[in-house]
Point group: C2
Chain length 420, copies 2
């Protein structure tokens, strides 16, 4: 379908709202055809996309962006192919819309069905990575939602070209092109307007650093799905298997330190610490990890810098690990309660009762027994796709896949029933 | 357990947060013992409660409160007994906390369980009816949540006495008394503070008029569960059975006009209107309903006042009904989309395909075929209890019972699994 050009955040949200009504009625086959066309278009227009991305990279270099940010901004043939394959994987996931989640027959003969429906219009506010543009558009389409995208200014040219390519792809299908909207105004006022379009946008999902997320939570009057700052802990209990603990801690810290499910603070029971902390510390250091520890840690292991209060709060997102020796399970749980961000928390122990108390008492989206925190992820949980990891308790918690982008309505079927 | 007195909204929220950790670990039997004690205390302390209520009524009269508001404020022996029985009914409902909602076994041997947990701390901001104080405390206890209550100043003495009675009841049980907190500061600043206590309060539920709800949605940084303004419609299709339509419309309007699931606008297909609108209008008028209609309505029925644009938007909550004759199903659906509040919408028709299009295309918490909108209610849906009716799409939609006051966490059980 052909798209009408307009400008302004409100107009884009209105167009998305109108498109969302048609999106909600599309069949699974129509939505999958849209996904297939989007994937193919990313491949066909590869050069145009990479050229636009080069413009962002050139400006990023001029602006002195860090190596890490430049890496997140960079598109390559391989990354584009990954984005196309991500869209194709969505085709094979079941369409959640229309699922009858529950049915009750009431005594008066009323039949009440709880039916899964799209959320409507999703607002995405995100930083750097241009792949979010494509991922969000694909997830929204598969779930029958419209999406209003607002990426960062550093990815402006990449995002604009990606959306142009997606629009061209959708024009050949039954999917309304207006279902994918890109806000091109780069001032903060546009973001503020987007966050207060109650009635036009049903939910805002921020993806980015703690500063962005805090701003959205503070300023948005549209409901927010808060995603992921992860100050995650592993607690190594007195009865932890030394080799298992070592594997899990090294994996949690070094597998991919820049992501939110990486471990940031290690808590060690003093009995285990006496026997094994020195060797665990050495193994971490061999893997390039800088350690910052409490006094007891520093007395037991070499080359450990002193940890300050701030270290317990930090999400390093780097090869740095804070280490705190504790006297008990309770002290470990109190530490997690005080400093954790309710993301992913793990215990390593051979004692089933100790594990039970930890798993029940620790308040987090994911609690682990004898496994790495790195598994908190949509694909690892078997969701097939993920739009972010929720650290709030309302609506969705932990990895958010297709179902988490839906709502429901009650369909009530009668034969003339009245009340009273 | 014994309660420590403190003042200030923040301290109350902190106490509630601390209590919520103990509440989450209570057994079903412990929670039910608390509910039983609360119900009994309402009966034992009946006189003290009614005396406190008289003080509110006396001040309400002085302040010139409307008859409707005075009626909502008034407690009687019968109403108190109803509140006590409401608590006892919660005892018989299954405890949702701890339910394993889903289990997956991954190829690597990880077992991932999705487990229902309490939300934590619920903030209630509500107007008039003192029964909300008791209902909310009971629902929160059954679901393992702490609650911070902020009622209206007009019910100050009633609410304070009710909470005192509930506290005394809980002191004899294992339930932490601090799990029920009443904010006694009556200035607006206290409400503002409550709505921004992110980290201490997990969700705010406003109960009251449109003004209160709008303010909470606009100002709260804590996630909000928006409840119920209901501008509900009944669409009488060309192929509606006349007698069924009459029953449903009269029930929807007159059974209890002051509640949110009452019908406010009647949409009638022009073909049906020609034959039956005159008699339906007369029957409504016999039942004391004032009609405000479009020109076509006024040409077909007697004693109908002219409807203005504002009448399509109004939630009358009174024996007044707006009537609009439409040319088609599509026009009816467009009217609902433009003026409805996504609460409860009904169609009366004998045509199954017409009903299907209406039920799928109308965006509302509850959509009805051949039944009264008055059934949108927790008890009518079989939930056994209700804390409000959500008109938003995130987290919960429609009547909110016990499950809607819970969240979940993922419990991941491993044998040393690491990633990568």
């Amino acid at each position: 379908m052909v798209k009408t050009k307009v400008s302004g955040v409100r107009q884009k949200a209105e167009q998305a709202r109108a498109a969302s009504k048609r999106l909600a009625l599309l069949t699974e086959a129509q939505k999958n055809a849209g996904l297939r066309a989007m994937a193919q278009a990313l491949r066909n227009r590869r050069e145009a996309i990479l050229t636009a991305n080069e413009e962002d990279l050139r400006r990023g270099e001029e602006a002195g962006l860090s190596t890490a940010l430049m890496d997140r901004l960079r598109l390559t043939e391989e990354r584009l192919e990954g984005m196309a394959q991500g869209l194709e994987e969505l085709i094979h996931l079941p369409d959640p819309v229309g699922e009858v989640m529950e049915t009750v027959e009431r005594e008066n003969g009323l039949r009440i069905e709880k039916v899964r429906v799209p959320l409507g219009v999703i607002g995405m506010i995100y930083e750097a990575r241009p792949n979010v543009t494509v991922d969000a558009a694909g997830l929204a389409l598969k779930t029958g939602n419209a999406v209003v995208l607002r990426g960062s200014s550093s990815a402006f040219y990449s995002n604009r070209m990606l959306v142009e390519v997606l629009h061209q792809a959708l024009e050949t299908t039954d999917v309304p092109v207006d279902g994918v909207q890109l806000v091109e105004d780069l001032d903060r006022e546009a973001v503020r307007e987007m966050m207060t379009l109650n009635g036009w946008i049903d939910v805002i999902i921020p993806r980015g650093g703690a500063g962005l997320i805090e701003r959205v939570v503070r300023e948005s009057t549209v409901p927010v799905l808060e995603t992921g700052v992860g100050n995650c802990h592993i607690y190594v209990d007195a009865e932890a298997d030394p080799s298992m603990a070592e594997h899990i801690v090294i994996n949690g810290k070094t597998d991919r330190p820049a992501v939110c499910n990486a471990v940031e603070t290690l808590l060690v029971h003093r009995e285990w610490a006496k026997q094994h902390l020195s060797s665990l510390a050495a193994r971490l250091q061999e893997n390039g990890v800088e350690l910052r520890g409490c006094d007891r840690t520093r007395a037991l292991a070499d080359h450990v810098l002193p940890a300050s209060e701030e270290d317990w709060r930090r999400e390093y997102l780097d090869l740095i690990l804070a280490v705190n020796v504790v006297d008990s399970l309770e002290e470990a749980m109190e530490h997690i309660d005080r400093y954790g961000t309710r993301h992913s928390e793990a215990i390593v122990t051979d004692n089933a009762e100790t594990a039970r108390v930890f798993l029940q008492g620790v308040d987090a989206a994911a609690v682990y027994h004898n496994a790495s925190t790195r598994f908190t992820d949509g694909s690892q949980f078997g969701f097939g796709a993920e739009i972010g990891i929720s650290t709030q308790k309302l609506h969705a918690r932990g990895p958010m896949g297709l179902k988490e982008l839906t709502s429901y309505k009650y369909r009530v079927l009668g034969t003339g029933q009245v009340r009273g």
